[in-house]
Symmetry: C2
Subunit: 434 residues, 2 copies
């Protein structure tokens, strides 16, 4: 590809603008051998910080991918389908490398795109798609997966959810209020479903799981629950028991299968993930023989994302790009989803009518299921309201607990469906650091 | 170099043994295309877990580097000079790549070795030399340095020192006792100078500084203080003020120069480095535009180190190796050491004879130097003993404080040389995560 990488950038939002600034900076990235030559965006005439007058303009990203004289197509459009997918396919078909921040596209079509790239000798790089500026794709794909057996990858992968949970806890305001503010401030999208529903974190953990386990990405197999049902009451009660609620994405080996999911979960206050606040992301990798590695950094924004895209471009310049999921497509092995039920400690919150015998009735159902209680808290009733009872269990099979919870939900004294959340503890992939 | 990398391993201690095991494992690293073919060690007939009977044996590492039919020479001998240096030079002269865990060698002779490697087209890779299994060399060299301006790199880089400080605090036993135990348990060397004197951390931060700032490594310019003078009294008093003492290695830009040092320093209990206990390492990188990134993992041991060596070997296999300090030797720019005095907050402990007017005399000297006191603690005297007075300063120039401390040391009432340590705070490269 010669000495200079000719780059097209599709999408000139904050990240695309940040990238142009970086490539155009006082100390040119890659000694000036990374050169933006073409751009496309929705509106040619919008005011921009970066000067794009010297670059070839395309109204249509797909046309740019198909026609521009380029070595690399940087896709910053977003979305799992539509123009992003069409443009990436057009670039790969020509043997043009793709650098993208698009987790949805790769999580849902990663195998097909990797296969296409292999046939033309193009590379797909996507450091910016997961955990912003944290070089976790590189660490996992180039640094660890080859010489290690990865047992678990987990973390806090969605800054919006982490911001919302952090704000709810610190301000004591309910989810809807905090979300409305975040939307006004630009921290959350007008349609927040992708973030707050856990789907964005799901895309990201599907990609990390693929690299960690040498498998094709399998977004459909990710078990996803968002933060939209996390209540102030649960945040407050978890706090009384010494825990904070975080949205945890996790991919782990279970015997010869894998479990990949996104769930609100409790972490103890002294747990390393408990102090990962606001818009930060964190990734924890457990592997043999390296042990546990933790990474923390800003998960989104123009700077971190542009930094990650630049790192990928420098990999291409150095001829150092690897296959997108760490090994050739033919060597990827689909991992069966875990059949064995999850096992762990859990937080259970039950709203009850304050009557004698309530606790006995609940405790009896748990005892019948063989679930031992670790801690128990009955919060004083507010005037006229139902009373929340919370408990944490000792380590138990999720299946047994689910059965007990179904019986508890059916009790006359129970006022609302009980709330069950896992507790990330020292036996999981997220032990404390000391 | 063909499809298979032929590897010689010099040094078969725990790391060399761990590497042989890894290369020989059930799932061969790199699809079996990494192949150990020759080994050397001090004693051929020592009992080893790994079977070396199929490998070519050399009594002399230098002879192996010179004669074995290999593509890569893995140097696990250690030491900045002697056979390690001779063997590495012999390998590089032939164009044989070197993978090493030897921070002393590279910190002290890195520029000469990089120059030699460039002339023959050999690569030098040393992920295992810094922070064990944490892929921080790769993150900094391949992921960040190109597209970012690194402002500071800091961390906890010596597991032995971190273990000793952690043990002193938790057990309340003095340095010498804890060190003797650590030596008995194999956590510290018989001659512990390299570790406890801060030199090992100094070697490591010299290498991180070189990559971060695009400079040749300059170990001689590293300002080094070890943990051997950290007393139980200071650990206890720092704790009363809300701080923990850690050995912090730090490289930072100061205007157009750099400051690189290793010092015992105070970190607040809620500081992310405060909870990095025992044998863990941590690295914090502050850079534009990526922001702050933190990495935590095991800093030593067979597993983490073998994992790091394997990652380097896989880089060679993928043709993905970069210049050892991130850019060609001709592009490395020596950074002038910072002329401007350090500025920050400090911890000052003074042992005094318990007489009226002591506090006034000390406060007067600080006031004269323009140093403001932030917190102040006089500990009750133990029977007949001198009394420790501790204080933390507000942000001030180190030079002014040093002058005041000289005057304080000369006061009649002062019983021993005062102890001064920097406080890592939110304005340094090590702010809390939230």
């Amino acid at each position: 590809m010669g000495d200079t990488l000719r780059i097209a950038i599709a999408g000139l939002g904050t990240v695309g603008g940040g990238l142009l600034k970086l490539l155009d900076g006082a100390t040119p990235v890659g000694g000036g051998r990374l050169k933006a030559v073409a751009v496309s965006a929705r509106d040619r005439h919008r005011r921009r910080e970066a000067d794009i007058s010297q670059l070839q303009w395309f109204d249509d990203a797909v046309a740019m991918a198909r026609e521009a004289e380029i070595d690399v197509f940087v896709e910053l459009i977003g979305g799992s389908d539509g123009p992003a997918k069409a443009a990436v396919e057009a670039a790969l078909k020509r043997g043009v490398h793709v650098v993208t921040a698009n987790k949805a596209l790769l999580a849902e079509h990663g195998l097909a795109l990797a296969t296409l790239a292999e046939t033309t000798g193009a590379h797909i790089l996507y450091e910016a798609a997961v955990a912003g500026g944290i070089p976790v794709i590189k660490a996992l794909r180039d640094g660890l997966a080859g010489g290690n057996r990865v047992n678990a990858v987990s973390g806090i992968l969605n800054g919006t959810c982490n911001y919302l949970l952090t704000e709810m806890e610190s301000s004591g305001r309910p989810f809807a209020d905090v979300l409305a503010d975040a939307q006004r401030l630009g921290y959350a999208e007008a349609d927040p479903t992708t973030d707050v529903g856990g789907f964005d974190a799901g895309h990201k953990i599907a990609l990390l799981a693929a690299i960690a386990f040498g498998a094709p990405p399998d977004f459909a197999a990710v078990d996803i629950e968002g933060v939209d049902n996390v209540t102030l009451m649960d945040i407050r009660l978890a706090g009384k028991l010494g825990y904070r609620i975080k949205l945890i994405a996790k991919a782990e080996r279970v015997d010869e299968s894998v479990r990949v999911g996104v769930h609100p979960a409790l972490v103890a206050f002294d747990h390393p993930l408990a102090s990962v606040g606001s818009s930060l992301n964190a990734v924890v990798i457990d592997a043999d023989p390296v042990g546990r590695l933790s990474f923390v950094g800003r998960g989104a924004g123009a700077g971190p994302t542009a930094s990650a895209v630049a790192a990928d471009l420098l990999d291409l310049l150095a001829g150092a790009a690897r296959p997108p999921f760490g090994r050739p497509v033919a060597d990827l092995v689909r991992q069966p989803p875990a059949a064995r039920a999850e096992e762990g400690r859990f937080f259970l919150r039950i709203l009850v009518h304050d009557k004698p015998g309530v606790i006995a009735a609940i405790a009896e159902q748990l005892a019948k299921a063989g679930v031992s209680i670790e801690s128990f808290l009955q919060d004083p009733a507010e005037a006229g309201a139902d009373v929340p009872i919370v408990l944490t269990t000792q380590r138990c099979p999720r299946g047994a607990l689910d059965a007990a919870v179904r019986h508890i939900a059916a009790l006359d004294v129970v006022a609302a469906p009980p709330r069950l959340m896992p507790i990330e503890d020292t036996r999981s992939g997220l032990r404390a650091w000391s």
